[in-house]
């Protein structure tokens, strides 16, 4: 039984790559290619329910269930298996285009800020510019005591200031 059908390759920008398209019957039992006009055919297909798949890089095609009638030779019924939509004509159209690569996001300040190093820098800046402010708001008495403490330790450092600031 013959089963001729047209593939609606036109209008999908597929024509340039039409030579890469394969049409596959029953999971590899038969493989055929598209003609320049987008038609394809399988020969000697017995009556029964068959499955047609399309292999095309860059496009997602739903497999098609094809019922070849035993009573009326040449009569064919087709339906997409993905969404159970019946086809009036056996015209195969891709359901969607497939994009195999991630799209790089353009450079933005936020992405740098959000990166671990950006966060580190941010924290640094906060410590550098906000801590002195905190120190300034401290009680002068307290401040002096802290400084004395520091002098006794001999090493002036920000880290020794931090706990005392926190204690306040």
């Amino acid at each position: 039984m013959d089963c001729k059908s047209g593939a609606g390759a036109k209008g999908f920008g597929l024509l340039g790559k039409i030579s890469d398209v394969k049409v596959i019957l029953n999971g590899g039992q038969k493989v055929t290619f598209l003609r320049p006009d987008g038609y394809f055919s399988f020969y000697n297909v017995p009556a029964g329910t068959h499955l047609i798949e399309v292999a095309a890089i860059g496009y997602f095609f739903s497999p098609v269930r094809v019922d070849v009638s035993a009573r009326n030779p040449g009569k064919v019924q087709a339906a997409l298996t993905e969404n159970r939509r019946g086809l009036i004509e056996l015209v195969l159209e891709p359901l969607r285009e497939e994009q195999y690569y991630e799209i790089r996001e353009p450079f933005s300040i936020m992405s740098v800020v959000k990166s671990p190093m950006g966060l580190m820098m941010g924290f640094m800046l906060i410590v550098v510019f906000l801590m002195p402010k905190l120190v300034e708001n401290m009680d002068p008495e307290e401040m002096r005591r802290a400084q004395e403490e520091m002098r006794s330790q001999g090493v002036p450092s920000l880290s020794s200031l931090l706990p005392s600031a926190a204690r306040n």
Partner: protein, 984 residues
């Protein structure tokens, strides 16, 4: 313990990560490589007439039609036909179409020569199978009507080469008429169809080339009977062999009537033994006879006398005749002389003069010359030059011109049988410092460029430089072991009997070796490779020792044919030792024991289920004797629907190598009802798989123990109707039953039936789960199901108090003989595509979550997270389940284009996918093969344990510098402030 806690944290962290890994377009080629092949060339047609691109069109044993660049051997285009669509003949018509005859002569297709687009397709429907022959107009030089004559399925068809329209058809329906030859007479538009009727009668039909009417029919009989092929020597003489293969028969059929003569072969070649073959030269009144290891060239004079012209060694290949100017014909001969190859071109009508004689140095790893195709060109001094396309024993394709090999293609890699890996040698010397300093400027420049790239400031030229730098990175193609275990050797065994070692970094061939033991010999007529195993991995202290691999082959196709074993050094490719032909090899079981030289013990099971131990040493035997009682194996007899289990009984009684041979003891058998169930698929776990956690923490703090046993076998059976192809069964009469069988006891742990489903079944078994793919006839869609099995006997170990007090049975040994209390959870989902291969990612410690790698019908490899195939998926997962990462239930599995690991590439003719763990836990190496080969590196849960490729070291440096600068600035500030304080 700390590592375990870390792992748990990592897992928690990972489960929040997005599913699947994906690639940016500019990362293509960083971790992956792809190589295109075509396979062993069967036919070749040159197309060099016009100026411009010179090409050769070839068809191969992998059913590929390809157009190759004659200058460099690159592929202009190629089409891979279906697996059953074997190409019988190719030709070029009208100078712009490639005509192919395929599927036993039932399909004629025309392909556009420049771009490979299919132009037309014509189907011949005949009544019987027959030889298929193609005769295109170009040979007969009657180009006016451009008809192609094709013979297939017992029909002679004339097809217009412009649009594929059938002009006329003549059916030779007579069942006993076997057509051997078709000839188109050059002048008169007459087609001769010649063939045998029965074994002793010869028939010749003359057919009108315009309309297909039979003009004349002759019959002659020959008492001796015919055997095999016939050869056309000229337009009116045919040569055949008689049934006894002792006489040459010449049949002249033109000029009214048939006349048959015979002549004993021994008169021509002297005494001979063994098979005789006649070789066509398609050369004026000449043919070649292959007998007695010699090729004899014989000419036939006009009155039918046979003369011997020359005898040459049979390790030679002869091309078809090529018409050189003014009716002269040339024939190419390629002979093997030691390590060199002699290419001679002779003139047909003047055998003693050589048009050309060249000697070419040939790598002896390519073996003998198998086929040669010649083509001529006019040199600048108007003399004739010749080029030859040579197909070698290892399936490689070479172009020879002017005494040199212009290019070569390693097309043996299109037919890979099995793959294993080997570690590279450890780096001995450190990198010298001077080298680093010398490259410091370059290094800095590179990083500045990369920084520009990340900041999107780079110009397009800079981007090209960056991309080039990334691809060329010498780091990945070094010949030493790396810290992460990304660099390895892939050792592949090909159908041509050649071993290749490929570098995982860039896919280049490190060494290749045609295995002597897998070559045709007296003892072994048709050797084929079967599998390849890691044989010896020397301890890492033994730096001077090289690892080795074991190659297992078989002398004939049938299962009980004698086996061949070969041990090959993995670093140099030299054959250390070969054994064979020995006992037959049905199964090879690598044991988890090694001897003192780190050679792994292997058990080879022969056709009588006897066990042979390798290596054959006393030490190996003593190791084996200790473990002997723990050795179990099974056999699957698919044709009888029986699975049997065995253990070792005693050493063999009637065997030469008695000590190393053991006889089996039948333990159990599972007999499936053969009339209703046929075994369609069996799968076990990978031996090298590592399972990290025994338990699975469910939502609501519940604990489930995985039932982990290396001795589980997944078996799928189908009703007889459902075991054929799709389209032949109806849902009511087809069902699929899957079993999980313990191979020690033969106990069936789980049995499930899928009504209305059918084969093919592709399955993968890992840890405590099986995923299998089959066809659901009711929904008419493919389905994938998962079965997870959990151990109930340990289920009451959840109580923390019990664990603390020690009242748990976790440390008690698990035995297959203890009655397992298992629960199985299962769920099914729809899957869109047909599947060619399925496997699962393996990692070094088994911590990283798993991905299924699915080779789809469109020759792509899809990575699907195992979490999509979790039987606990439900429509509305609870909050706890959501936190754990259970995905809400959908009826079909999602196909996310970004998760194709082959991205925009195809692995044409995909047959297998192999995963190898890298040393880095997050990463696994994936190698997929078919006609093409493709390698990539995958991180199923992203690279959580290392920095990614695009990590910007420059940014890190800048940050550090900025921090140091900030420290100094603040220090100066604080000094100054302190000074001011003091002055106050």
């Amino acid at each position: 313990m700390a590592a375990r806690i870390l792992a748990v944290f990592l897992l928690l962290f990972l489960s929040a990560a997005p599913l699947g890994s994906s690639l940016y377009e500019d990362q293509v080629g960083l971790m992956d490589w792809h190589q295109k092949y075509i396979g062993k060339v069967k036919h070749a047609v040159f197309h060099t007439q016009r100026s411009g691109r010179k090409r050769v069109v070839v068809s191969t044993e992998e059913n590929v039609i390809a157009s190759l660049d004659l200058r460099h051997g690159d592929i202009f285009w190629r089409r891979v036909l279906g697996a059953n669509d074997v190409v019988d003949a190719i030709d070029v018509a009208l100078g712009k179409f490639v005509i192919t005859l395929s599927s036993d002569g039932s399909t004629i297709r025309a392909w556009n020569l420049p771009d490979g687009l299919m132009v037309w397709e014509t189907f011949i429907r005949g009544s019987k199978s027959s030889k298929s022959l193609l005769l295109s107009g170009t040979n007969s030089k009657v180009d006016k009507d451009n008809t192609i004559l094709a013979f297939g399925e017992g029909c002679l068809v004339a097809v217009s080469s412009a649009d594929g329209e059938v002009l006329w058809k003549k059916d030779f329906a007579d069942a006993s008429f076997e057509v051997q030859q078709i000839i188109q007479s050059p002048g008169r538009d007459v087609v001769y169809v010649l063939g045998f009727v029965g074994s002793s009668s010869f028939d010749a039909y003359q057919i009108n080339g315009k309309n297909g009417e039979v003009m004349h029919h002759d019959t002659a009989s020959f008492a001796g009977g015919f055997s095999g092929n016939t050869l056309l020597v000229s337009d009116d003489v045919l040569v055949a062999l008689d049934a006894a293969m002792s006489h040459l028969i010449t049949i002249s059929f033109q000029g009214g009537g048939l006349s048959i003569n015979e002549k004993p072969i021994s008169n021509l070649v002297g005494d001979f033994a063994g098979p005789v073959e006649i070789l066509a030269l398609k050369l004026g009144r000449m043919f070649a006879l292959k007998a007695n290891k010699l090729i004899t060239f014989i000419s036939i004079s006009n009155d039918g006398k046979l003369d011997v012209l020359e005898k040459i060694n049979s390790a030679a290949a002869i091309s078809d005749a090529l018409s050189v100017s003014d009716g002269r014909h040339a024939v190419g001969l390629v002979q093997q002389v030691d390590n060199k190859v002699e290419f001679t071109v002779k003139l047909g009508n003047d055998w003693n003069t050589n048009l050309l004689k060249e000697t070419i140095n040939m790598d002896h790893q390519r073996g003998f010359v198998r086929k040669v195709f010649i083509n001529n060109y006019i040199r600048t001094d108007r003399s004739h030059g010749f080029r030859a396309l040579v197909v070698m024993e290892d399936h490689s394709l070479l172009l020879v011109q002017q005494g040199e090999i212009v290019w070569g293609r390693e097309d043996g890699l299109a037919s890979i049988l099995d793959v294993t890996t080997s570690e590279l040698p450890v780096e001995k010397d450190g990198v010298s410092v001077s080298k680093v300093e010398q490259n410091l400027f370059e290094w800095l420049k590179g990083h500045i460029l990369k920084l520009k790239g990340t900041l999107m400031l780079a110009s397009p030229e800079d981007m090209v430089v960056i991309q080039g730098m990334r691809l060329k990175s010498s780091e990945k193609s070094k010949m030493t072991r790396d810290h992460n275990g990304f660099r390895k050797l892939l050792i592949v065994l090909t159908r041509g009997g050649k071993l290749f070692a490929l570098h995982t970094g860039d896919g280049r061939i490190i060494w290749s070796r045609l295995l002597e033991s897998l070559r045709k010999s007296e003892a072994c007529e048709h050797p084929t490779g079967l599998r390849i195993y890691t044989w010896q991995v020397p301890h890492h202290h033994a730096m001077d020792e090289n690892p080795s691999v074991l190659v297992v082959g078989r002398c004939q196709q049938n299962l009980d044919a004698p086996g061949i074993l070969s041990f090959v050094d993995a670093y140099t490719g030299s054959e250390i030792k070969s054994v064979g032909p020995v006992h037959s090899v049905l199964q090879v079981i690598p044991l988890p024991f090694t001897d003192s030289t780190e050679q792994r013990l292997h058990l080879l099971i022969d056709a009588k289920q006897r066990v042979h131990l390798y290596p054959r040493s006393r030490e190996a035997l003593s190791i084996f004797q200790q473990e002997r009682s723990n050795i179990y194996w099974y056999s699957v007899e698919a044709d009888k629907s029986i699975i049997r289990g065995y253990a070792i009984k005693r050493t063999c009684v009637h065997e030469d190598a008695g000590d190393y041979c053991f006889e089996p003891r039948d333990l159990w058998s599972v007999v499936f009802p053969g009339k209703s169930e046929k075994i369609v698929s069996t799968v076990t776990q990978k031996l090298n798989e590592v399972v990290h956690t025994q338990a699975k923490v469910m939502a609501e703090q519940e604990l489930m123990y995985k039932y982990i046993s290396k001795n589980l076998l997944f078996v799928a059976t189908a009703s007889p109707k459902a075991s054929h192809e799709i389209g032949s069964a109806i849902p009511d009469e087809s069902f699929l039953v899957v079993y999980l069988i313990d191979t020690i006891t033969g106990r069936i742990l789980q049995r499930m039936t899928h009504q209305g489903c059918q084969a093919p079944v592709h399955a993968v078994f890992s840890e405590n789960w099986v995923v299998y793919h089959y066809f659901n006839l009711r929904a008419h869609r493919y389905e994938m199901s998962v079965i997870e099995i959990y151990d109930q006997s340990r289920a009451d170990n959840k109580d923390v108090l019990k664990l603390v007090v020690g009242k748990h049975n976790l440390t008690s040994p698990t035995s297959s003989y203890s009655r397992p209390e298992v629960v199985a959870k299962s769920q099914s989902y729809f899957f869109t595509h047909s599947v060619k291969a399925i496997t699962v990612t393996l990692t070094a410690k088994g911590i990283t979550s798993k991905q299924l790698l699915i080779g789809t019908i469109s020759d792509q490899v899809l990575a699907l997270d195992k979490r999509y195939l979790d039987p606990r998926r439900s429509l509305n997962p609870s909050q706890a389940e959501k936190e754990e990462g259970v995905i809400p239930l959908t009826d079909s599995l999602p196909i996310i284009p970004q998760s194709y690991v082959t991205h925009a590439l195809k692995v044409e003719g995909l047959r297998g996918i192999v995963t190898v763990p890298a040393k880095l836990e997050s990463t696994t190496l994936v190698f997929s093969y078919g006609v093409d080969i493709f390698f990539t590196r995958l991180a199923p849960s992203r690279t959580y344990d290392s920095l990614t490729e695009d990590f910007s070291y420059a940014l890190l440096l800048i940050t550090i510098v900025a921090l140091i600068a900030a420290i100094f600035v603040t220090w100066v500030w604080s000094e100054r402030k302190e000074l001011q304080e003091k002055w106050r």
